[in-house]
């Protein structure tokens, strides 16, 4: 259940940004979570619902953009089929992940009366 420690880091980061921008209340967080990031989206929501109480994120919505994992050949850019061996048939090179391991805080929507 590392999702709890991820939510802890997330809320800390939001508090820093709110302090920086004079934010008083957070309405929505946008995060991007990759399929192969090791973060389970449902558990992340549960952890967020639990930990946001009595923080600046209380009542905030967590908007999650889930990213499908895609592997491709670093040389010829050929995309590897899902579940296939992670090596290019043509070039023989080990595949590289194009996306799918993101654990990113993209954007915070906050009330900032002084901005």
């Amino acid at each position: 259940m590392h999702e709890y420690s991820i939510v802890g880091s997330l809320i800390d980061r939001v508090q820093q940004e709110a302090a920086l921008h004079g934010g008083t209340r957070v309405h929505r967080l946008h995060v991007k979570i990759g399929e192969l990031s090791g973060v389970e989206v449902a558990l992340l929501r549960t952890a967020f619902d639990t930990f946001r109480e009595r923080t600046i994120c209380e009542g905030a919505e967590l908007a999650i953009d889930s990213v499908v994992a895609v592997w491709a050949c670093p040389r010829c850019d050929r995309v590897i089929a899902r579940g296939a061996v992670l090596r290019c048939d043509t070039c023989g090179r080990p595949a590289r992940m194009i996306h799918g391991d993101e654990i990113i805080l993209e954007r915070i929507e906050m009330e900032a009366p002084d901005v």
């Binding site: 921008h21 090791g38 579940g83 992670l86 090596r87 805080l105 929507e109």
Partner: protein, 252 residues
């Protein structure tokens, strides 16, 4: 003004961040990595299920190489010092990070452990993670390489079930191979599963009990050792440096 949902609320502002949520851990891991590299110590993050044989592999490693290499370790354990006790008895200078209910080590915990048990006089330093095939994979600790121990009793499909862990590993040690004659274990099947989750998959077959394959494991480690700085030992004991959390101090 809020432009996202179109409510037009003038007091809602979007703040762009676009940063990894674990950026604090990443920064701490980079700090640990610079420690290891400046000391010329090869740091390995050893992961695997509970009972995969992580501690036994380290015991076999020191049996085979203890005369020529100085090995150090820190073991992540929920509740006991048993792994560190076993390693100390085997001749690996070792301490425990007691994680309580936490299912993984993070870079801050490793940094804290290094303050109390410095690794500067080691050639190789093993961070034996908490037994778990899920959580440890996503925390960078500052290691040079990730190694996953997978025992033959766990079944061939473990890599497909836990792709994140295997995708992040640089080497898989297939452990307890002395048991293969007693099991219906298909080595080709585990190699095929690894190739589908781990780019440039590498697997070494070892038995901590018989010592089979330990030579190849030592060769793999040896090939990754950084050049040892001649002043590494004095650095280990007298280094002053800056920390991300804003203090500098002497390491003992």
């Amino acid at each position: 003004m809020c432009e996202t949902c179109g409510c037009g609320d003038p007091e809602i502002v979007p703040v762009e961040v676009q940063e990894r949520i674990l950026s604090d851990n990443d920064a701490q891991a980079a700090h640990n990595r610079s420690h290891f590299e400046s000391l010329g110590v090869l740091a390995i993050n050893l992961m695997g299920s509970p009972g995969a044989g992580k501690t036994a592999v380290l015991e076999a490693t020191v049996r085979a190489a203890g005369a020529t290499l100085r090995l150090g370790a820190v073991s992540g354990d929920l509740a006991t010092d048993r792994d560190a006790d076993r390693l100390n008895a085997a001749g690996i200078q070792s301490s425990t990070i007691t994680t309580g209910s936490a299912c993984h080590l993070d870079a801050r915990l490793v940094h804290h452990a290094l303050h109390h048990a410095p690794c500067g006089d080691c050639d190789m330093f093993f961070i034996e993670n908490v037994g778990n095939l899920v959580c440890p994979a996503i925390y960078d600790l500052g290691q040079a390489a990730n190694v996953v121990a997978l025992s033959v009793t766990e079944g061939e499909d473990k890599p497909l079930k836990y792709p994140v862990m295997f995708q992040k590993s640089d080497l898989v040690l297939l452990t307890k191979i002395d048991l293969i004659p007693h099991l219906d274990f298909d080595v080709d099947a585990v190699e095929d599963a690894l190739a589908r989750v781990m780019p440039d998959a590498k697997m070494l077959k070892v038995s901590a009990k018989t010592g089979e394959g330990i030579d190849a494991w030592l060769e793999w480690l040896e090939a990754r050792r950084p050049a040892r700085r001649p002043d590494a030992e004095s650095l280990a004991h007298h280094e002053h440096h800056h920390h991300p959390h804003g203090h500098s101090h002497e390491h003992h």
